[in-house]
Symmetry: C2
Amino acid sequence: MSAIVPHVVIVGGGFGGLWATRALDAAAVRITLIDRCNHHLFQPLLYQVATAGLSSPDIAAPLRHILRKQRNVEIRLAEVADIDAAGKGIVLDDGTRLDFDYLLLASGATHAYFGHDQWAAHAPGLKTLDDALHLRRHLLLAFERAEAEADPAKRAAWLSFAIVGGGPTGVELAGTLAEIARHTLVNEFRNINPSDARVRLIEAGPRVLSSFPEDLSAKACRQLRKLGVEVSTGKAVTDINECGYQLGDEFIAARTVVWAAGVAASPLARSLGVPLDRAGRVLVNPDLSAPGYPNIFIAGDLASVQQDGKPVPGVAPAAKQMGRHVANAIHARLQDRPAPAFAYKDYGNLATIGRMAAIVHFGRLKLSGVLAWWFWLAAHVFFLIGFRNRLIVLLNWTWAYWSYQRGARIILGSDEAGQVRQDRQP
Amino acid sequence: MSAIVPHVVIVGGGFGGLWATRALDAAAVRITLIDRCNHHLFQPLLYQVATAGLSSPDIAAPLRHILRKQRNVEIRLAEVADIDAAGKGIVLDDGTRLDFDYLLLASGATHAYFGHDQWAAHAPGLKTLDDALHLRRHLLLAFERAEAEADPAKRAAWLSFAIVGGGPTGVELAGTLAEIARHTLVNEFRNINPSDARVRLIEAGPRVLSSFPEDLSAKACRQLRKLGVEVSTGKAVTDINECGYQLGDEFIAARTVVWAAGVAASPLARSLGVPLDRAGRVLVNPDLSAPGYPNIFIAGDLASVQQDGKPVPGVAPAAKQMGRHVANAIHARLQDRPAPAFAYKDYGNLATIGRMAAIVHFGRLKLSGVLAWWFWLAAHVFFLIGFRNRLIVLLNWTWAYWSYQRGARIILGSDEAGQVRQDRQP
């Protein structure tokens, strides 16, 4: 019997890491939770921050505050520089080494440009709050540039928006952007008509929201078109530069291209030296431990898990379940029991499209339109962390619903003092 | 009689510029309102964004939205590069020249370091939303650094906060920071006790809030001390570097110094080529026109106006009154009447100190403490633009009041992807 309490290091305060931490509340361990941000982010609503419907603090909560009562947790705001898997230690970016008895890697995913990293400068993605504020700035400035532009062709390019990737994020962004152009900005400009804006959603595969059954996917497509989105499927974007993008034989002038197509696991997985899948995720054992390292676990978007021949999807409920499973596995190990295998329980799938438009697929239940949208809204408010956030988000949405306005339409400067530069893309 | 409608150019969408624009609603002019930000900012609550009590969009509203129904206004998101006063034209940063019949300069003030510009890097100021987010990041990261620091002296330096300048902004920041350290962060750290933080307010003059009568100023000082702020008066800071600051004979280690001491007029005033006061403000004619240029007016913090031997203070009500006055003056000129002289009506003065602490001075009425705080709160909610903002701010404050929490405690990254760098100040 050891007098020293086992040390559990958890990397990442997202759904995987936070749910694991909470599930170890009563365990006789000491936990160090490491994240490079000071907050847990409710990623499913990130597109709302990017499209100026919500403020950053509405969908984030400080990790320290969430975990203030859990006395076995210490939080470190840091980045992990290296993992010494064999020696059971990790090294932080300030050079500190932390030895662990158990490690959970849950550092999530980042966008991937499929080998076209040069596109990143012209087609920003959406994974963090900083990404969302950058994108908000980009979208709002595009209308400002169009208003100031005298040349009709250049003006049209500023009013041409493309979203690459027809998954949930792409669909949400396209639907909301169409609403902004057609409703929110009405009457606000003198030289342009914002509803002339062209919002195009591009999916290389045969249909949008391909994780849903075909009929729901087709309904989503119809709802998108009704909102004013041009949906293009079956053709991939083959080039992106600051003037526009190449789609098949056609080059389309567009000053705003948003990347919602590719996701790759956080590069941290590579430093483990274990087999990865094509997206850089760890091919974990059935108990979510890393091959060859029984004391190292993986959860969330960093884990590649197959179940019934299908991959477990990279969604919040899956990450939470994995987090809780890892906590159970560590419990078991502490009692010298073998860890059980992880089993993903699929409670259903839902995606929002825009104002009063969504699709829902729960077992045999299939909904679309207004009812699905209310369902989506209730679920998302319910799962937000913090009573205050729920209240503020509900208030903002009620306001947006009645007024067609978006409360956070504030351009914050990433260049010095919010200055506007004409010589580069917004 | 000319068929061409006179062109009024207004630079700055703050209290001066926006109130002038609105007051020209029914005038037979076309207005171009120029601002480098897309929003009107309610500056009196900026310290709340810096101290994580409110989000940026809570105290700002898009200028286009505010003015959407006023059809004689066109808004340009741009910076003014030069003014051709004699030739009645201004040049924007993209090279566009706009000719005007009347010009209103209301571009406000910026911080000034009294010839010590090297202090700017170590003692950020607070004038814009970007400043506020920068400061928020700085304040929140200081506690994170202290938590991760093993050396007691270095840790104390991270927990040492100085606010230079005992005017309203300095007092608000000091009071709120003391509340954060003593209440908000309780239980959230494992290696430090946030209430060990030292919050020092430094005023070179003999007393804080010197625009108030002496007895109220003394009461404010007592309230600050009760909240846990060390108040130092009568000694000036003579040096600031990344390790701390020099105050008289003493060098005090502090990793956070906030600059709330000096204000200078926007540099735009200089390009007019007219007499300026020491702070760079235009010494305007009684009707607020610039000396020698009857068609150029100045309002707000850019105007140096004397009344009854005292300067008109740089506060929001004065700027609004000047804005409205300039609109009247332009009305008068359009009808070939002489413009009247500007007369400032002082409705009173109020300043908040912290939780349930404020001072109010309205004519013979002097209040301090809880009652003054409620007065301050009601006034500030009332004067916010937009019903939505009022509702959200009230909700946030009610929440903060009951929970001692601050909803916007989210560190947003100004470096890439919110990464934390250990090798520099936050």
